[in-house]
């Protein structure tokens, strides 16, 4: 589990971002971080912190979302095998990434949704046609049940073939 000093530091960070000093963060508070504002997926990442329809996130919600990025090794220390799956399990990390694509939360990544994410990442540098064919090729290769959309299972299969999820989606604290 998270150590006391880590929680203190994160709380310190939370309050320094909270310019309105009302105990919650708004989207503007996140966008004030320059390195996040220039991130092509910045808006999607910020969205992940806010529950459906809400405009403010409190410290608890902040920590919950950040918890997805804890290294998986931390879990070996906790003995709670019968409890709910921890937020930073490999499966939940993959779910988190899946939801970056799946905007309408229907558990499928459609061609449109994929195109939206691609457009965010490439900006104006690639034409619609080229982007369209990239999307088509990507879906074709991952789609196994032929519905021209990517389910979570298909997503997991194609991602795990290439990438060490634990390593890519983890942030280590220095102490």
């Amino acid at each position: 589990s998270v150590s006391h000093s880590q929680i203190t530091r994160l709380y310190s960070r939370f309050t320094s971002l909270d310019k309105g000093e009302n105990g919650t963060l708004s989207r503007e508070d996140f966008q004030r971080i320059p390195e996040l504002a220039i991130n092509p997926l910045g808006d999607r990442i910020i969205n992940a912190f806010f529950p459906e329809g809400e405009d403010q996130v409190n410290f608890r919600g902040f920590m919950r979302t950040l918890a997805h990025f804890r290294p998986i090794e931390d879990n070996e220390k906790s003995k709670d095998q019968n409890g709910p799956e921890p937020l930073n399990s490999r499966s939940n990390k993959l779910h988190f990434a899946f939801r970056l694509y799946d905007l309408d939360k229907d558990d499928k990544i459609s061609r449109d949704e994929l195109l939206q994410v691609l457009r965010m990442m490439v900006g104006v540098n690639i034409s619609d046609e080229q982007l369209g064919s990239i999307a088509d090729r990507t879906i074709q290769e991952a789609d196994q049940d032929g519905d021209s959309a990517i389910s979570f299972a298909e997503f997991v299969k194609v991602v795990l073939e290439k990438v060490d999820v634990e390593q890519k989606m983890s942030i280590r604290f220095l102490h």
Binding site: N39, P40, F69, A97, Q130, S133, R137, A142, L174, H175
Partner: protein, 436 residues
């Protein structure tokens, strides 16, 4: 009535002491050693406090005391995008590409390089000021007693003293420069102007209990040059004028500051701009060039960052001062935060609260390094020159260099930076895939 008389007498004695022990030596440029003695006691006390805290911490956590903001909270993976994503590519795009941007985003949320520069540096060990007591808990009775004594000393003795000195300093500045300003232009006037400015600076430095170490005085800025330094606080100017005379550059303010500006410009050609003139870059450049061309005029003092940064890093230098074509004299200023935090967090404190905080700190201790003069080289444009000067200052002062603009304290980052990231990613897609 007797009480009033006694109070008046006490007040007179107090003022006489202040004049004899502080103001007079300032005017003559000598030191009686009082500040040195105070600093010695202070250093010993803080060392004792540090040892007590280290002993008192129940769980041995040597990591925490040694960890400063410079080390960071998290491990940042600095692998560039090209390397991290390109390894995986046999096709042009993969679902896992988002992982890179996602992680970078979360790293920035937990800890970013920029916003931390706009708040005060964290201390390694508590310095017995309530305001810095962030992570340190109650340790012992003795420590608390020392802290209480500290509060009394700072608020009941040091604060009135410093306030008196500041009042004397500012009044002398206004009166002195106005009087000198009446004289016709001559070398006598210049000499007297320098005396007035130096004396008042020295009084003001003592008003802050300033201990300044100047290094490499042989590189001190000369007439006809431009002195640039990193900016941490409005006090920076006083720190430098304590050791030499400069022509200040800035916008005309109202209120007390405006009075000081209008008085001082009579004695010595400072460069004050009206609010409307500041927007006109050509006008600004022209006036600075005229000033610099006159070899009799004092060196100009400019802070190219444009805003106060927290003294852990040097941010982007605005290129304006580097286009003028004069010799640049870089100066690095590094404050020791253990004795008092000099950084002005203007979004959190207004100038009055800031001065109050400064005057109730232990002291202002800093190092000033005069660096060898630099000129723009062949084929170097103003931006490259500005970066070269910035590197020299950062290296000397032990500060990190950041390519970010200090203006990000208030303004949003420009879209061009995000567009650059998008362009880099697009290049990778095009290169690896079969799209031409």
């Amino acid at each position: 009535e007797d009480v009033a008389l006694a109070a008046a007498r006490l007040g007179a004695v107090w003022l006489a002491l202040v004049f004899a022990l502080i103001v007079l030596p300032s005017a003559l440029g000598i030191s009686l050693g009082i500040s040195e003695a105070y600093m010695w006691v202070l250093v010993k006390t803080l060392e004792w406090a540090t040892i007590r805290i280290e002993k008192g911490v129940k769980k041995p956590r040597p990591q925490m005391l040694k960890n400063s903001a410079a080390n960071g909270i998290i491990e940042r993976d600095e692998t560039p995008m090209e390397k991290e994503i390109a390894r995986l590519h046999q096709v042009d795009f993969e679902f896992s590409d988002v992982f890179y941007f996602c992680r970078k985003g979360f790293e920035a949320i937990v800890e970013d390089e920029v916003t931390q520069r706009f708040s005060s540096e964290e201390l390694v060990s508590w310095n017995l000021l309530t305001r810095t007591n962030v992570n340190f808990h109650y340790i012992s009775l003795r420590l608390t007693v020392v802290w209480v004594i500290g509060v009394i000393v700072r608020y009941c003795f040091l604060l009135p003293l410093r306030f008196t000195l500041a009042a004397i300093g500012i009044t002398s500045m206004i009166v002195g420069t106005t009087m000198v300003g009446q004289l016709p232009n001559s070398s006598v006037k210049n000499y007297l102007s320098e005396v007035v400015h130096l004396t008042c600076s020295r009084i003001l430095v003592r008003a802050l209990s300033g201990t300044i170490h100047y290094h490499n005085k042989e590189n001190k800025p000369q007439k006809g040059g431009i002195c640039v330094a990193n900016h941490t606080s409005p006090i920076d100017a006083i720190i430098l004028t304590n050791d030499g005379c400069y022509a200040m550059v800035g916008q005309v303010h109202g209120g007390l500051m405006g009075i000081i500006q209008r008085a001082s410009v009579k004695a010595c050609p400072h460069v004050w701009f009206e609010r409307s003139e500041v927007k006109d870059r050509h006008l600004v450049t022209k006036r600075l060039q005229e000033h610099v061309a006159d070899k009799n005029k004092l060196p100009i003092l400019i802070f190219p960052e444009g805003t106060c940064i927290n003294n852990t890093s040097v941010m982007m230098f605005k290129k304006g001062s580097f286009e003028i074509g004069a010799t640049i004299y870089p100066v690095a200023i590094k404050y020791d935060p253990q004795f008092g935090d000099a950084f002005w967090n203007s979004s959190k404190y207004n100038i009055v609260s800031y001065l109050l905080r400064i005057m109730t700190s232990w002291a202002i201790v800093c190092n000033v390094w005069y660096l060898p003069p630099m000129v723009r080289e062949e084929g170097e444009d103003a931006v490259q020159f500005a970066n070269r000067v910035r590197s020299a200052i950062a290296r000397q002062g032990g500060l990190t260099e950041l390519p970010w603009d200090g203006g990000l304290k208030r303004a949003k980052v420009k879209d061009t930076f995000r567009e650059e990231q998008q362009k880099n990613y697009s290049k990778m897609l095009v290169r690896n895939g079969s799209i031409g």
